[in-house]
Structure formats: C-alpha cells, structure tokens
C-alpha cells in the first residue's frame, strides 16, 4: 500500500507568511512573461527584417569608404584602402566579394565636341565587371584603341539634366545620351597628353561614378599618373545581407563609412535585437530572483516545520520520499504560473500582430515553438531547483 502524503500535509506549517509565497509566485510570473515576450519579439524582428527585398542574384552591393576625420585629412595612406585592407575584408565570412573602385591619378578633361559646347574636369573610375549591374558587350578596351566605352551613373545624368538649362545646354534622355560622342583628354604630370573618343554605353543605378574598362584605367594610370599602386578610396562589397548585424559591427569597428540608407534596416534590427536581448536577460534575472525568493520561502517553511519533519524522519519516513512529496506540492502552482505567463504572451503576440503590424503575413498571431519550449524548460527548471532545495534541506535534518 502506498504511503499517503495527505496526513503529512498538515504538518508542514506554511504559517502566516504566505505573503512571501505569493510575492515569489507573482515575481516568477512576471519574469517568465518578460522572458517569453522577449524571445517572441526577437523572433518577430528576425521574421520581419530577414530581407525579402528583391536583390540582384541574391546579393547586396555596397560602396564603402574610410571616414575622413579632421585628424586624417590630407593623409592619403590613412584615407585610402590598401591591399591589406582589401584582403582582410575579403576574408570576412559575411562578405562574398570585394572590388576596389580605382580612380584616375591624373587630370582628365571631358568635352562634348562641337554639338554640345560643354567641357569639364572630371575623374574616371574602374571596377570589376561582375560588380556592375549592366555590362554591355562593347564595354571593352585594348591598347591602341582610341575609343573608350563609359558606364555612367544614372544619378549623374539626372544632375546634368538639372543644371543643363541654366548653362544653355540641351537636356538629354537616357536613349540619346548614348549617341553623344565625348572627347576625353588625359593630362599626365609628365607632360604626356592624349585624347580619346568616348561614349556612354550604359547607365548604372548601382554605381555612383563614371566607369571605364579596368584595363584602360590601369594602363592610363601607369602612363599618365606613373603609379601601379592599388589604392582605392572606395570599395565595392558584395554581401548576402547588408542588414547582417555582424557585418555592420565589423564596418563600425573599422570606422568605415557606408551608405546609411542601404543598411538602415540592419541598424534598426540591431538596435531592436539589442533592446529585446536586454529585456530577455532582465526577464531571466527576474526568474532567477523569483526562484531565489521561493527558495527562501521554502527554507522558512522547512525551518518552521523542522520538528515535525524531523520526527517523521525519526519514525522511518524516507527522506527521498518526503522531499519528492513536499516539492510535489508546488508543481501545480508552478505549472499554473508559467501557463498564465504563456497565455499572456500569446495575447501580447496576437495584439502586436493584429494592432501594431496589421496582420502582416510574415508574422504569426501564434507563439513561435521556441517560446513554448522555453516555457516547458522553465517549468522543468523550477521543479528541479525546488526538488533539489527541499532534498538538501531535508537531508540536513536526518
């Protein structure tokens, strides 16, 4: 016949100090609620910002430059990327490719010939072809060719069309711009001078620059600018997710400047995740605090019932059986507390999804399974700590 715990229950003096017990229950409930809500919100952010935005070939292309500060002004070696910088960046796991934007190291003069009376000093840059969004087949150059194909930023064309009327110049459509033949004059420091013909073969939405074939620029820099040194003021980076917090952290740490707009979501995500991580840790602390409070309550209860429990042990009651049964008394309460917290988390999630997110399809009104698993783990954690505590205290009485 199984020994009944019922007559023993009245021997445990819970006493008048049930206030501390209720405090610990409420504390535990609040802690669990905070923890579960934080986990759910963390998951919500992941789901919202996991970047379903359309990207070419599934990659983001970002231009990165070094931040020029008052201290580094005028020090080219500090403001330009050298080969080591490029290698190091290429080695990062979140980066799928790096290409330097190499600029001209000599003076370039562009004129539009007789049709459009316009000439300006400007710069040319080159970039690996696979970093460009549009590469027409005629975007090539070989030595001796006096024609240079140009890929032009659509933004620059827009700017030109803004100021052109003020200078009495014709505004150009995307279609006609490729018809215009321009003359590019390269002036070397060494007095070498050469003029090339050029035309715009494509417009680029991605790269804010005037791009010429890489082999042309390498040749020209050597000829007019007398340098082979790869030093770029800008790098183009190909990454799976420009909003990846590790990627952003890396940039921040290196003090690299990046187009804020492209990584805006990433920064928001980073901040929100930080907030909810903090909240989650806080929730965990509250849970620990509540469990500690509860263990004090247990100690108090066992201290008050010490004589009775000791006598039970003297009569031959097994300390293990007593520990199990004393701690079993609290199982329903623990389960109830965690279930209530879980229920409130579900209500919060539903309200968040419905009222704040207007039932966006990326999110669910139901709790994520990790939240439910965490709740189960918390119940187990409470029960185990409780049982161990009671057992320890009871074995002291033997």
């Amino acid at each position: 016949m199984a020994v009944s715990f019922k007559p023993i229950r009245s021997l445990l003096q819970t006493g008048t100090n049930s206030g501390s017990r209720w405090f610990s229950y409420i504390g535990l409930g609040i802690g669990v609620l905070l923890l579960l809500c934080s986990i759910q919100m963390f998951i919500n952010i992941q789901q919202l910002l996991s970047g379903e935005s359309p990207r070419k070939q599934g990659y983001d292309y970002i231009s990165i430059s070094k931040t020029i500060t008052n201290e580094t002004m005028g020090q080219l070696d500090k403001n330009l990327f050298n080969e080591n910088d490029i290698k190091e960046m290429a080695a990062q796991p979140f980066i799928q490719g790096v290409s330097p934007l190499v600029a001209t190291r000599f003076q370039v003069l562009l004129s539009a010939g007789d049709i459009i009376p316009f000439s300006t000093n400007l710069f040319l840059e080159s970039l690996d072809n696979n970093f460009l969004d549009t590469v027409p087949p005629n975007f090539t150059w070989h030595e001796g060719q006096d024609y240079i194909p140009i890929i032009f930023s659509s933004d620059f064309l827009e700017i030109y069309n803004v100021f052109a009327p003020g200078y009495g110049l014709p505004q150009l459509s995307e279609a006609t711009v490729s018809q215009v033949v321009v003359y590019i004059t390269c002036n070397g420091e060494n007095g070498v001078k050469q003029t090339f013909r050029g035309s715009i073969v494509a417009l680029s939405d991605r790269v804010n620059s005037i791009i010429v074939p890489k082999n042309f620029l390498d040749w020209a820099n050597n000829k007019f600018g007398n340098t082979n040194d790869v030093r770029a003021s800008r790098l183009y980076v190909r990454t799976k997710d420009a909003n990846n917090p590790t990627f952003l952290n890396y940039l921040q740490q290196k003090n690299y400047k990046v187009n804020k707009d492209k990584t805006k979501f990433g920064r928001v995500k980073q901040v929100l995740q930080g907030i909810f991580s903090g909240l989650g840790i806080f929730g965990l602390l509250v849970v620990i605090l509540a469990l500690m409070l509860f263990s004090f309550y247990l100690q108090l209860m066992i201290a008050r019932s010490k004589d009775n429990l000791q006598l039970l042990l003297q009569m031959g009651y097994s300390p293990n059986w007593l520990s199990k049964n004393v701690s079993k008394q609290f199982i329903p309460v623990y389960i109830l507390v965690v279930l209530i917290a879980l229920g409130l988390t579900e209500v919060t999630q539903w309200a968040f999804h419905h009222f704040a997110m207007f039932d966006r399809p990326e999110l669910s009104s139901l709790l994520h399974w990790t939240v439910i698993i965490t709740a189960i783990l918390l119940i187990a954690l409470s029960l185990i700590t409780n049982y161990r505590m009671v057992k320890k205290l009871l074995y002291k009485l033997v």
Partner: protein, 213 residues
Amino acid sequence: MQLQLQQLLPVYFDEAPRHTSEVWRRDLSFSKGEYVKIVAPSGSGKTSLMHFLYGLRNEYSGNIVYNNQNLRNYSAEDIAGYRKDHVSIVFQNMRLFPEQTVFENLELKRQLNPFHPVEKIAEMAQRLGIGNKLSSKSRICSYGEQQRVAIIRALMQPFDFLLLDEPFSHLDEVNSQNAMQLMLEEAKLRNAAIIFADLERIDYFPYTRLFHL
C-alpha cells in the same frame, strides 16, 4: 537477525569508569525473541544507547552491527528502512506531533508500513485506557496518556527489535503492567526481541538477559 554491539562507547564518555559497565566496551549480541533488560542509573548513558541502536546518533566509538551490516555505513534511506521495517522505539520523551490528534499520530506511523489494520488503533487505545482520547490533540493529553500513545505507536509497525527507553516513567503500576502485557503480546506475534532500559528492575518484564549499564 542479530543486533551486535562491538566495543561500543559514547565519545563523550570517559574511558576509565566504564570498566564496571556490562554494556559499554563489551561485545554483545542480541537475537530475535530475547527479552533484554538494561538497568541503568541516571546519567549512565541509557538514552544514548537507545538512540545509537535506533540510528539517531552516531557519536560513539566501536560498532553497531545489524544483520551483519554496520549501522555507520547506512545511508539516510537505509536508516529510514531500518526504522520502518526492523526496529521500533518508545522514546523517553514520547515525541508526538503536538497539533495532531492521538489517532492521527498513530495513523502516521501505521500507514508507513502497516502491521495492523486501522481498527487495531482503537482497540489498543481502548485496552490501554485512552480510547476516549483518540480525537484529542496530543498536546492537551497528560504525560501518562501521551506515553501510552507512544507505546501504541511503536506497535503499529513490523519489527525485529523493540527498544524501550523508560517507557513507564509517567505511568502508574496498573497501567504499566497493562502496557507491558500488550507489548509482550505484540513482540511474540513478530517473534521480536525487546530491549528494555530503565532505572531499576521491573518485576513484570520477564527478561531473559540482564545487564547493568
């Protein structure tokens, strides 16, 4: 089933005066069915001996061996089983739950390892003259009544050895004899030994062995 005492002596006792004792620092062996009387003046360690034998304390040198196993090596669970199944005790200071009724006190012991059906509680209480006290809280019972409750409680379980530590200190002659009779009957039922420690010899305990502590 044997209960052996090997060179037993409480650690807080002086070595020298113990040469006169017939228990301390001796090798003794008690078997089932024996009635052992231990006569001991105050302060000679009677209660200590009983507590050692019951496994309540272990501040002794030497060994207590039950069924070829040293009591010292028992785990907390082993000790619980030892008290539940093999050895029962009537404490000198009764040790009842003050806020529980007499019946509850007895039932708490009985349910642990029932030797008797629950009806036996009332029957025994009746026999020892406390039948009308079953529903009273034990703290409002007189010492004499409490002592009888403690005696009945010891008889609720199976045992090989029944330890009695001045069990009649609060009882008159008639009640003592009555209780002794009941205990003898119960011991016989289990073929158990009784180890009875008291200040002086008691005529109505038919001891088979006598020791002076």
